[in-house]
Amino acid sequence: MSASQIEIQLIAIITAVACALPGVLLVLRRVSMLSDAISHTVLLGIVIGFFITEDLNSPLLIVGAAAVGVLTVTLISLLQRTRLFKEDAAIGLVFPALFSIAVLLISRYAGNVHLDTDAVLVGELAFAPFDRFIVFGRDLGPRGLYVMLGILLANLLFITLFYKELKLTTFDAGLAASLGFAPVFLHYILMSLVSLTVVGAFDIVGSILVVALIITPPAAAYLLTDDMARMIGLSVLIGTLSAISGYWLAYLLDASIAGSMATMTGVIFFLVFLFAPERGLVSTARRRVRQKWEFALTMLAIHLFNHENTSEYNEESRFEHLREHLHWDNFFATQVVQRALDSRLIQRQNGTLILTTDGRERAKTALSR
């Protein structure tokens, strides 16, 4: 691996981790779509900042973009408060409008300058190593690395300092408010950090793809654990994996690194969605099947147990009778009986089925519950 390849992967990993941290909170608070809205509207902040400073590297751009991000969230909640629109419609109204203004401004006034919509939206991680951070003539590495590292530290600091408060406001905003914490204030700080993260990442992975890094790793982690701290750890891990595998996928296809990273978050999520140990599609389906058989076996045991020592026992315990009384079809009934015989819950005797001690126990426990 060449030095620039290592640098690119390092930036990719740091970006993915910086995004995953606030992402966990967004997913848990059910406001993930705000990050999508912000990712569109920061463009306006960047454009306005650019018109003022005429310098794409000015820190003022980041300030402007973060301010527009907060403005977006404020406008959305203002619209919602009029009660004329639901939350989803409010989001869907605000960001396209601000985004359109930005696109018009770019196409009209910045057409010949180094600021085009594609660069902002798509980003090009491959160019990041060319932009060096040089202090007193010494090359300290790519600038993007330091920008994202700063943002990562800010996010990390926020989450560690306010861990308890964030947890409380996330899971029980009402209780948090009544205890004197300020859920709204924390919410706005979080949103400022999300804006900052999106802006910082805009020329690295492109503002839209930040959304994939913010939402997808935490969503996957959410299917793997019930513990918030562990969820943060897993999100960081999944983000890192996506960054590295995305880089090599892009290398193979000679395609956009950011696009490949987003694709890899999707692939990892899809795998988790299918194979997560507790909540994956496969294990859920297997659990359902197992429960179906367990239930049928218990039903059979209870049926036989209820009729034990009664005059109609010979009638009730015949195999043909199960279909009538338990509404099982022939095939299902055969299967259940076979499984019951296999697990020694019943025995076959002169064409009737009788319970074993185990079977009787099972019926009793089920009934006594």
């Binding site: 999508d36 989001i91 396209p96 985004f99 359109s100 696109v103 594609d118 994939a212 935490p218």
Partner: protein, 381 residues
């Protein structure tokens, strides 16, 4: 360019006519279906559908090497449709909520699309040029054939909407009832979502994947302010969509360098803003007017009854009192004077000198009625 020139161009300029017609069609179809999406609280579904179309467009090109709009639209529709199905599966089978499922599917599909797009752009095949216009759309590149495709698909979508009108109405307002009637609700869900997908993909070439979602939300959100009836709302929404498309295309044609997509979205947003403030009943402005009016009415009643209660203590209901006394009774409100002047116009009070005011017989009668309402057995008797 004058308005006359613009209209003349609209009729006779081939390109402008095509672009305007295309923009109107996309506005009508997305407006009508957006109304249903909004009522079903799925406004942001349009956002996911439009972003998710990108990989479909590029894959359709990669497989067929054709830029025929029907082929690309079909690819877009399939990708969007798969994305929507995956999203619903995530919501149904996991504990991930709608917002995260939407954002996840949207960004992953969009990222995948960008990856494919950049991959395609580096292929030694010049025909790929122009695929990236699907990001922001470029209405100017619309050909008559493209618009014909849009109209064809749009007409199919609208006809299906009308054919299942009753079912979709029930589905949007009372899903449980629809289930209990034995309607194939899951099937209808899929049909309605498919129609939304069609509405969005036919607009992609003109408005682009990044902004098309606005055309689903904005006209619907505006029309909702004007009416409480579904039929009116859908019609109005389609109309707002058409107006946005038309005006956007016209402004863009005046050569100011503004591209059509963002203009169309901004005009639709302006319609929302106007509707938000000035739509009858729900409009914020009328709400404010109503509030001012009732505040004014309450103040009049306050001053009138105060004067009545004061005079009542003198045993003479026409006994005059000074304005200072009335002010004191209303926490020194500055509005006492204004209210008195208004009451004088209504001939309920008369001004005796600079400071003193008294009720007229008409004022006594009105005040008595008001006091009777608030204190049925009180001083008014």
């Amino acid at each position: 360019m004058s308005l006359g020139d613009l209209l003349q161009n609209l009729l006779f300029d081939y390109t402008l006519r095509t672009v305007a017609l295309g923009s109107m069609v996309l506005g009508i179809v997305s407006g009508a279906l957006g109304a249903f999406a909004m009522l079903r609280k799925q406004s942001l579904l349009g956002d996911a559908i439009s972003h998710a179309a990108l990989p479909g467009v590029v894959l359709a090109f990669l497989l067929t090497r054709s830029k025929e709009s029907l082929v690309l639209i079909l690819g877009a529709a399939i990708a969007s449709w798969l994305a929507t199905l995956w999203m619903f599966a995530i919501i149904r089978h996991t504990r991930i909520k709608e917002d995260a499922a939407l954002g996840l599917v949207l960004s992953v599909f969009f990222g995948f699309g960008l990856m494919l797009l950049t991959y395609t752009q580096r292929l030694p095949d010049s025909r790929q040029a122009g695929l990236s216009t699907f990001l922001f759309g470029q209405a100017a590149t619309l050909l008559v054939r493209d618009v014909q495709t849009m109209i064809g698909l749009g007409v199919v979508a609208i006809l299906l909407l009308l054919a299942f009108w009753k079912e979709f109405k029930l589905l949007s307002f009372d899903r449980e009832f629809a289930v209990s009637l034995g309607l194939p609700v899951a099937m209808l869900d899929v049909v309605l979502t498919t129609l939304l997908v069609i509405a969005i993909v036919i607009g992609l070439q003109a408005v682009g994947v990044l902004l098309m979602s606005a055309m689903v939300v904005a006209p619907a959100a505006a029309s909702r302010q004007w009416t409480d009836r579904l039929g009116t709302m859908v019609t109005l929404s389609a109309f707002f969509g058409a107006i946005s498309g038309l005006v956007g295309a016209l402004i863009s044609s005046t050569g100011t360098g503004f591209s059509t997509g963002p203009l169309v979205v901004l005009i639709a947003s302006a319609i929302v803003l106007f509707s938000m403030f000035f739509a009858p009943n729900r409009g914020l402005f009328w709400g404010w007017v109503r509030q001012q009016r009732s505040r004014c009415q309450l103040r009049l009643e306050n001053v009138l009854t105060d004067l009545f209660l004061l005079a009542n203590q003198h045993g003479n209901l026409l006994h005059p009192h000074s304005i200072q006394a009335l002010r004191a009774m209303n926490a020194g409100g500055d509005w006492v004077q204004t209210s008195l002047l208004r009451l004088k116009e209504l001939e309920m009070v008369s001004q005796l000198d600079e400071h003193n005011w008294a009720l007229t017989p008409k004022g006594v009668e009105t005040a008595r009625q008001i006091v009777n309402i608030y204190h049925p057995t009180g001083e008014g008797q």
